[in-house]
């Protein structure tokens, strides 16, 4: 039983290590690319978000994605970071860089401007998801590698508006051990 537990734990550690290196494109609420959740800011309030390519660990020449905006906000426009781009973030966005960008650090892609439709975190605004998905115009989500200009698929991270607290349950160590039969 202990061996099985150890193997399970080792697999979990490996899984975490792998996911930590998975390239992704994400929406952040701050320019430092760290805030992935935010509460309602008030009806009619304008806000700027930040989209970045993270964990690519290679040089990139461009990127491709779309954003699904939740009811809690209305997309207004995209503030451009780069000169050459196609589309909009809700309809599908492709962007190219004038010189290769170092994907070992987060690469800013675009800054969507939105208007908030909610003032406080109550239904139906709870857990509103901001999903990064494939660009429907190109059916691709990811980056363009440099110097080969090859497609580098990635994941799309989901940011949250009014995230619900994760439910927990009171218990004792004895009950936890009982789960594993010890």
């Amino acid at each position: 039983m202990r061996i099985a537990t150890l193997v399970f734990a080792a697999l979990m550690v490996t899984a975490v290590a792998v996911s930590a290196q998975t390239p992704y494109i994400a929406v952040y609420f701050n320019s430092g690319f760290s805030q992935e959740a935010k509460d309602c800011q008030g009806v009619g309030v304008f806000d700027t978000w930040y989209v970045a390519a993270v964990n690519f660990n290679m040089f990139l020449a461009g990127a491709d994605f779309a954003i699904q905006y939740p009811p809690a906000v209305t997309w207004i426009s995209d503030l451009q970071v780069w000169t050459v781009f196609q589309g909009t973030t809700p309809s599908g966005y492709s962007v190219g860089f004038p010189f290769p960008q170092n994907g070992f650090s987060p690469i800013p892609l675009v800054k969507p401007m939105v208007m908030w439709n909610c003032a406080e975190c109550v239904a139906p605004w709870l857990n509103n998801q901001i999903k990064v998905v494939a660009n429907p115009a190109t059916n691709f989500l990811g980056g363009v590698g440099y110097p080969l200009f090859d497609l580098v698929p990635s994941e799309g991270l989901t940011a949250l508006i009014c995230p619900l607290p994760i439910a927990t349950e009171q218990t004792t160590w004895g009950q936890v051990k009982a789960v594993y039969g010890e």
Partner: protein
């Protein structure tokens, strides 16, 4: 009789001297080495891949009208032009837009493989030119054979062929980008029948800043 023979020999000698060093357009074979139908992506700045990197190169054997090899033709005297009458390929600095790898050797031979193409526009089909002479399929003088036309696709981020990357090129590219744009083979820089972010990234890289142009 001996005078007649001597006179004829003199004439031949004079003719041989006269032809020496003058390229025979249909007597100078070019051997193409193509991998499938190569696709070459170009920029007026000439900062893209070598032609051998794009899957093609050429072998030249330069002969005069007497069939003698012509040595020491400089590598810069070789270049490529388009052979597609319906399209235009703009050349940066004309003959300097591409070069042979070296001067011809004593057998009149050289190769073209390491050059980049500093060009704008969009063509399918390249013809080799040497010292201003467009080389032709093998034949006898006077040359009436067709010019060489090798099946190579050349795509340039300089879509309007004005040899300067600017907003006009980006605008043309945008008109071909999905979902609203109409597919155009000239904006399909990697010739994969899809215009996507790979092509956009190439456009952005050469659009700059700085905007790429002939050097």
């Amino acid at each position: 009789m001996s005078k007649v023979v001597f006179f004829a020999a003199s004439l031949l000698l004079v003719a041989g001297v006269a032809f020496a060093g003058i390229i025979n357009p249909c007597g100078s074979p070019v051997i193409p080495h193509l991998t499938g139908t190569p696709c070459y992506f170009a920029c007026p700045q000439g900062d893209t891949q070598t032609i051998i990197g794009a899957g093609f190169w050429f072998e030249f054997t330069m002969n005069d009208a007497s069939g003698n090899p012509i040595p020491a033709i400089s590598g810069v005297d070789f270049w490529l032009i388009d052979c597609d009458a319906t399209k235009d390929m703009s050349l940066c600095a004309g003959s300097a837009s591409s070069n042979a790898d070296s001067s011809t050797n004593s057998a009149g031979k050289t190769t073209m493989s390491l050059t980049t193409l500093a060009v704008g526009g969009c063509v399918t089909g390249l013809s080799p030119v040497v010292q201003g002479v467009v080389l032709q399929q093998p034949g006898t003088i006077p040359c009436v054979t067709a010019v060489y036309c090798f099946n190579v696709k050349v795509r340039s981020c300089d879509l309007n062929g004005d040899l300067l990357m600017n907003s006009q090129d980006v605008a043309i590219f945008s008109s071909h980008y999905p979902p609203t744009g109409t597919y155009d083979t000239c904006s399909d820089f990697d010739c994969n029948s899809i215009i996507n972010s790979q092509d956009l990234a190439r456009m952005a890289f050469h659009y700059g800043p700085p905007q790429h142009k002939c050097q």
